[in-house]
Amino acid sequence: MNIFDIIGPVMIGPSSSHTAGAVRMGNLARNILGEEPAEAQIVLFNSFSKTGKGHGTDKALVAGILGLSTDDDGIKESFEIARKKGIKADLVFGNTHPEFPPNTAKFILKGKNNSTVVIGSSVGGGRVIIFSINGFNTEFTGEFNTIITIHDDRPGVIARVASFLAEKSINIAQMKVSRESRGKTALMMIEVDEEIPEGLDSALSSINHIQRAMIIKSVLGGV
């Protein structure tokens, strides 16, 4: 904690959890997609669904997938910005899910090349957790630079990725692997301390049995 966690950050109101956190979640979903979305369906759950409109949560979520930051004046006009860019954004209210945390949103994003389904929650003070990517369980805050691989569940893939990162002097802070079922597709999430060099995703993708590698730049921690 430093002094600018106390006086600061600069943010668009009214709420760190319902506005700033929603922007951050959208930012992460966009980074996971890895390109400008062309079509987005965003489903709001629980408290987000019930009180989201009063906090501008819907506008904040759309601002997030547009790549606006938490202090951007454009958040309020995010629907208009999306329309001008030809991005179709569809917000779905009215859902509850007993197993999801209070402030949860599900992003179904389609871009030119990729599509992704991301589920996450705003957990207070602007901090967020992404707990599902394309059906895989994750636990990922966006506070670190993160590498995500989707790969065939085969022996040695994880070791190859780890030694590849070691060669580049990238230190692994945290790591988590989950899979659909034995021998099928798996997702690995690696949070690292360092800046991730450009092009590392395509270098990783060329490793045998890796279907896709993504680099997700950190979005700051607490508001």
């Binding site: 600018f4 006086i7 600069v10 668009i12 109101g13």
Partner: protein, 288 residues
């Protein structure tokens, strides 16, 4: 240097015969591995955002996104000529509400320490500086003092309404604003400590009970009232009035009161004003 209490900071400032903000700037620049100049520059930028938000909210009535509040800062500002309270106090309250109005309208603010309590520090400091003829640089300096007080509260209690009720958010903001005001007015570090204690004591036990869960009722007017209390706490400390309970003990007690507070009164909108007949009606009308 691993400082955990306000008393350590005050003692250090007294020993070095400098202000609290001088001490804090040096500590923070070491922690953040950057120069004091860089820190000051960033804080000054934050102060500009504070000024812009206060100005925006007094120039014209600003409505919230939900439409249940709006224009409180503007109306009080316009009433200043015929008001009963003195000019500085009234302007501080008007500006505090103005910033909160901007927050509720999805405008840009500085969380200080939180979005819900973002009006108090700008409202007080801009208005006090206007009366005392202090510059933006001088206000920027005392924002470090306010930040230090907030940091000590965060370490020893909490700044989150969900954890400690409104005393943790607006209560802390009032204490921080009072501290900065004392330093801006030329008070001693010891007097800063007393202002913190006096301010926090006067808001102890305050619950967080937002109608419909929105940062509007009672938050906006509470920011206005908080500004007034900050100025009076500063005046008391500057007059040589001392808090019998030391600031660090008051801070710990505030945290303890927060932990004793039922969940219904900690930002969940399930008690207090949120569950009054009118509070429930507003919620029904907004969200069905």
């Amino acid at each position: 240097m691993n400082i955990r209490t306000l008393d350590e900071i005050i003692t250090e400032a007294e020993a070095q015969k400098v202000s609290i903000s001088t001490i804090i700037k040096i500590i923070e620049s070491k922690e953040l591995e950057t120069s004091v100049e860089n820190l000051t520059k960033k804080m000054k930028e934050y102060f500009q955002v504070m000024k812009e938000s206060a100005q925006k909210g007094i120039e014209r009535p600003i409505s919230s996104l939900s439409g249940i509040t709006g224009g409180e800062g503007y109306r009080l500002w316009k009433a200043s000529e015929n008001a009963i309270s003195d000019n500085v106090t009234l302007k501080a309250a008007a500006r505090a509400m103005a910033v909160s109005n901007v927050n509720a309208s999805m405008g840009r603010i500085v969380a200080s320490p939180t979005a819900g309590s973002c009006g108090i520090i700008p409202g007080v400091l801009i208005s006090v500086a206007e009366k005392l003829g202090k510059s933006d640089d001088q206000i920027t300096d005392v924002l470090f003092t306010a930040g230090a007080v907030g940091k000590i509260i965060a370490m020893n209690a909490t700044l989150a309404g969900a954890e400690g009720g409104c005393q943790a958010e607006c209560g802390s903001a009032v204490a921080m604003a009072a501290a900065a005001t004392v330093e801006l007015s030329g008070g001693t570090p010891r007097q800063v400590g007393h202002a913190v204690a006096i301010a926090l004591k006067s808001l102890m036990g305050l619950v967080c009970d937002p109608v419909a869960g929105l940062v509007e009722v009672p938050c906006i007017k509470r920011n206005g009232m908080g500004a007034v209390q900050a100025i009076m706490a500063a005046d008391m400390a500057l007059a040589g009035i001392e808090s019998i309970i030391p600031a660090d003990e008051v801070i710990k007690a505030m945290g303890e009161v927060g932990r004793m507070m039922p969940e219904q009164l900690r930002e969940t909108a399930t008690g207090g004003l949120a569950t009054t007949p009118t509070g429930k009606r507003i919620k029904r009308e907004l969200f069905g």
